[in-house]
Amino acid sequence: MRRIVLGSILPTLFIAIWEISSRSGLLTLESLSRPSDIVRAGIGGLTDGSILVATGQTFETALLGLTFAAVAGIIAGAVLGLSPVLERVVNPTIEALRPIPAVAFIPLALMMFGFGVSMEATIVAYACLWPILIVTISAVRAIEPRLLEVADILEMTFAERLRKIILPAAFARINVSLRVAAGIALVVAVTVEIVLNPRGLGYSLMLAQQSLRVDVMYAQLLWLCVIGYALNALLRNIGPAAIALSRASR
């Protein structure tokens, strides 16, 4: 409680000075709005649903891309982590593709898919794939070899091995990579929307800027901050929750 009070001194002071100075005419920058106007714009956007619709659209593509990257990255990572030979074959290709910025694929993706969900989700998936793939490879390689021998002796199929040995053993590390990738997914989705995709939070930010609604723009920035924080908190708790759930079911 004390920490919250102490921590909120600076932001409160900052907002107060901002509000007072812009009301008294001391501050007349076009790129600045008043905190009170921003809050009003935010409430307006939330009540008429425009912010929520845009959030839904951004999340839809971000999650779609992330899910795609997670499934592909974890399965490919498990296979490559288990087979050093295959990993040596694939690794140069990974290292060649990985440094290409995902947003550089926007023009190509636009030609392939046109505007809309698939184009954006593809770029999100590309950006999210690498951290998940690379962490999964190293996590699988770090699995205690005895456990894999136990799976050998029990003649487990690859699917069984993946579900019962590999994923639980590598779970903690893979979970971290998913958290990192989720942050990337949001960034990339909003970026694609700002650059050209006419949907989601990025697009409404651009609309607000072009119609000189600075207050709406700030309100949306604030909203992005809130959902980014919420997303991270959610993912941080998914790990322990999943462990508790899997233990309860045993």
């Binding site: 005895r146 021998e149 136990v150 029990l154 019962k164 040995i165 639980p168 233990r247 045993r250």
Partner: protein, 272 residues
């Protein structure tokens, strides 16, 4: 298959039965080219009879573990052949359970004792409803009832090794391959587990191959004891123990035959 069996066991006089597992001129080397090539096992021929308790002793680093892993099918020999009930071994099988020395690494730390035992049954495709009585029986047999819902990290070494044995029994093996299973345990726990595994193997007529560096353990447990010589390892001696069952930690170890075996093997190992 009968013909084949008779052909593969000419060394064992008077025996026409197919051995449980056998090695014929098995060699194993690491490294391909000659300067780095290291021969670990050299032309090992060994039959493990159905239902017997065979102990293999040898100095540490002599390739005992590798030998056992070849029996399990986890390692493929560079030369020679391994047969399980007459058929060539090409990989691991549920019928040949292996109990690792490092029990803490062989258990799934995220599963409870019950969950670890259930792993074998799940792999076999036993339905959850049918798993329960089997697991309950194994928990009782291995004295694990009170630890049933605990996780491996919460258990002592002896208890963890019991869990591993229970999991191996759950896979209904025909052969138990044990790699110095009690080497890391204290003396009291070791003796208790020795007697339990001995009783278990006799009660279920299980074939056991037991690796140890402890001579007395080998003589106490084994129907036969094979002595493995230094690198590259060969079988330097194979003795019939011939001590009566049931064996007893006190009287068996004081038996003159026990002491005679001990003398002989001790001399062999010192030379090996």
């Amino acid at each position: 298959m009968q013909l084949r069996a008779e052909r593969t066991v000419p060394g064992v006089a008077g025996r026409t039965a197919v051995p449980a597992v056998s090695m014929h001129k098995v060699s194993l080397a690491y490294g391909a080219s000659s300067p780095t090539r290291r021969l670990i096992l050299e032309k090992i021929t060994l039959d493990v009879r159905e239902g017997e308790f065979l102990c293999i002793v040898g100095p540490s680093g002599s390739g005992k573990t590798t030998l056992l892993r070849i029996f399990a099918g986890l390692v493929q020999p560079t030369a020679g052949e391994v047969r399980y009930r007459g058929q060539l071994v090409s990989g691991p099988s549920r019928e040949r359970a292996i109990i690792f020395q490092d029990y803490s690494k062989a258990l799934l730390p995220w599963r409870s004792v019950i969950g670890n035992i259930a792993l074998s049954l799940e792999a076999e495709g036993v339905r959850p409803a049918e798993q329960q009585p089997i697991i309950a029986a194994l928990l009782a047999k291995m004295g694990l009832e009170r630890a049933a819902n605990q996780y491996p990290g919460q258990l002592s070494g002896g208890m963890q090794q019991r869990v591993q044995i229970a999991r191996c029994l759950a896979q209904h093996p025909k052969i138990l391959l044990m790699d110095e299973p009690f080497g890391a345990l204290d003396a009291m726990t070791r003796q208790a587990l020795q007697d339990e595994i001995l009783a278990l193997s006799r009660e279920q007529h299980m074939t056991v191959v037991f690796i140890t560096h402890d001579l007395e353990e080998a003589i106490y447990l084994g129907d036969r004891v094979a002595v493995l010589g230094d690198t590259p390892a060969r079988i330097v001696e194979l003795i019939d123990v011939g001590l009566p069952h049931p064996r007893d930690q006190l009287t068996t170890r004081e038996d003159p035959r026990f002491l005679a075996h001990r003398h002989r093997l001790f001399g062999l190992l010192r030379r090996a």
